[in-house]
């Protein structure tokens, strides 16, 4: 049982990274158009938070949260097709990258407007409460997005109604080029939770087990009617803001330092300590993943584009 969990977690961490690395490469080759945002370095957060969620649990991932889609069970083929703008993608080519959801798996597609899914997550949680369903809503967002009004309006409301919602702040210390100290005058976003009458928690976003401990405790409380939690995961993105961006605005040492805290290597050390044959596990997992990602890319490449006139479809449930 625990072995299965360890393997699954490792699989998802590695799958997320390989998938994203491939996406970066494909973007460089001009095969993926539009903005591409890599979450490389931050994988432990979404994997840790989403692992073990129920299908109905409602998550709102953002631009770096590829792993959330994977852990929640979206077929990598469809996900890759989404990035290619193909008809077989989640949005049928309507939008790109992660502006798409899969509501059957409880994944809500974001708009670009940062923090704007937070009110939506609160609304989902409200539904769970009204219907007495034991599910939770989880909104992910960067520390940058925490500056927007929607953050405040939502946390305040969640606090009043003790909604089953978890706010997961992925604090990677930069919003595009803007360092944290130009974004806020405090160390921890998490302390803001007090102003809304609930608990905030800080953990290392690069330590899968820390994320899981913190998140699962919060999820448990939420499921039992004990209200929301604001979780802040400290982490770092290895790449630039988008694949177009050369992050010259960050000191080089910072990256090196954070790479030495890599979430996957850290998890491998844990596996080793637990007595697994990590070399073998790694080789096997990588082989398996390569196949999955290769297949996904092939599927995406071979999939048809939507036809032009489909641009007029899917606007209304009751069209006119």
């Amino acid at each position: 049982m625990e072995m299965k969990e360890d393997q699954e977690l490792y699989f998802y961490l590695k799958l997320t990274r390989e998938f994203e690395d491939r996406v970066s490469k494909l973007h460089l080759q001009g095969k993926i158009l539009g903005g591409v945002y890599s979450g490389k370095g931050q994988e432990a957060i979404v994997v840790g938070v989403c692992y073990g969620l129920q299908r109905e649990d409602f998550i709102c991932p953002i631009h770096r949260d590829m792993g959330a889609f994977l852990v929640k069970g979206v077929d990598p083929k469809r996900l890759m097709a989404q990035l290619f703008g193909k008809k077989t993608g989640l949005s049928k080519g309507k939008d790109s990258f992660l502006h798409a959801g899969d509501l059957e798996r409880g994944i809500f597609g974001a708009t670009s407007m940062l923090a704007s899914t937070l009110p939506v997550a609160a609304g989902a949680a409200l539904k769970f409460r009204m219907r007495k369903e034991p599910h939770v809503a989880i909104a992910f967002f960067g520390e940058g997005a925490s500056s927007r009004g929607d953050f405040h309006e939502t946390l305040n409301f969640a606090g009043i109604h003790k909604l089953p919602v978890i706010f997961v702040c992925e604090n990677n210390f930069y919003a595009y080029s803007t360092p944290q100290n130009a974004q806020m005058a405090v160390e921890d976003v998490a302390i803001r939770a007090e102003g809304y009458g609930f608990k905030g928690a800080v953990c290392s976003g690069n330590d899968l087990h820390a994320v899981m401990r913190t998140a699962h405790a919060a999820i448990d409380r939420a499921r039992h009617g004990e209200g929301p939690t604001l979780i802040e995961c400290k982490t770092y993105r290895y790449h630039g803001h988008s694949e177009h961006d050369q992050p010259f605005y960050r000191p080089k040492e910072e990256l090196i330092e954070w790479e030495s805290r890599d979430p996957i290597q850290r998890f491998e050390i844990y596996l080793e300590k637990k007595g697994y044959n990590v070399d073998q596990m790694k080789a096997e997992t990588e082989k398996q993943i390569k196949e999955i990602v290769d297949e996904a890319v092939q599927f995406a490449e071979e999939s048809p584009y939507p036809e032009g006139k489909e641009a007029m479809e899917d606007l209304y449930a009751n069209p006119f």
Partner: protein, 326 residues
Amino acid sequence: MPTTYIKAIRDAMFEEMKRDENVFILGEDVGILGGAFKATDGFLKEFGPERVIDTPIAESLIVGAAIGAAVLGMRPIAEIQFADFISCAYDQIINMAATLRYRHGGGAQVPMVIRGPSGAGVHGGLFHSQNPESYFLSVPGLKMVAPATAYDAKGLLKAAIRDDDPVLFFEHKYLYRRIQEELPEEDYIVPLGKAAVRREGSDMTFITYSSMLYPSLTAAERLEKEDGLRVEVIDLRSLRPLDWETLFGSVRKTNKVVIIHEDRRTGGIGGEIAARLAEECFDSLDGPIVRVASEDTHYAFSPPLEEFILPNVDKILAKARALAAY
């Protein structure tokens, strides 16, 4: 007993909440107070605080939370205390709600209504008088309704609540207690997207909606009596979808069109209607399509200013007579 426009709105919500437990309402002061205009009077007692939610002052949250509940199958009604404040929820409406189904490739729906009192004529000043429909004219994915009668207010609101798309429902506060009608006992809806011909005519078409129906009808009557002109008056009721077929038919019959609305002239829906009618019915037109609308300024407070700004019977008559003489 006749039902006022505001009571018709109340009854529509009340009956729908009885009918379908997925319907709920959230907004500022909708609970204890029963709404700033009493649209939810008695709801808290009947349906309890889980379905009648007094929110903090946070319009973006109100709309966003409604969206979240809607995608999970609820049918929320988000009340904006004055429609002017919809500006504070603009992003949630035009980007979150309007694109939701589209960006999910059709795999989502957003059955929700955003409603609130709009319109001028009650000394509301700049921020309690706006007609926000023009802010949303170019946004696909939304529907938009603006009833003029109590019957329609009730029937359209029910249709909006039962519709699976996000509907903006702009009630005209001037009408709230000024008009009343006998309404059917039984459940009915007025389908979205169908205009009503309020008066038949063959010499000229008035296209209008919401509160401007009344001065339009008065002007039409006077034109008949004083000028012998038979004016057809069309009440749009829905602004999106818009009943183009009815408009085309009328224009082809009367060949002259006046569009009357309280929203501002520049950027109001009248421009879009005039443009499209002229594009599709060019040969049927015996004169320019003219517009009577609020002046291109803010809805000023002082009575002479408001009077100057808003359309009225005399302004309609002047334009209609000039057109008739064309």
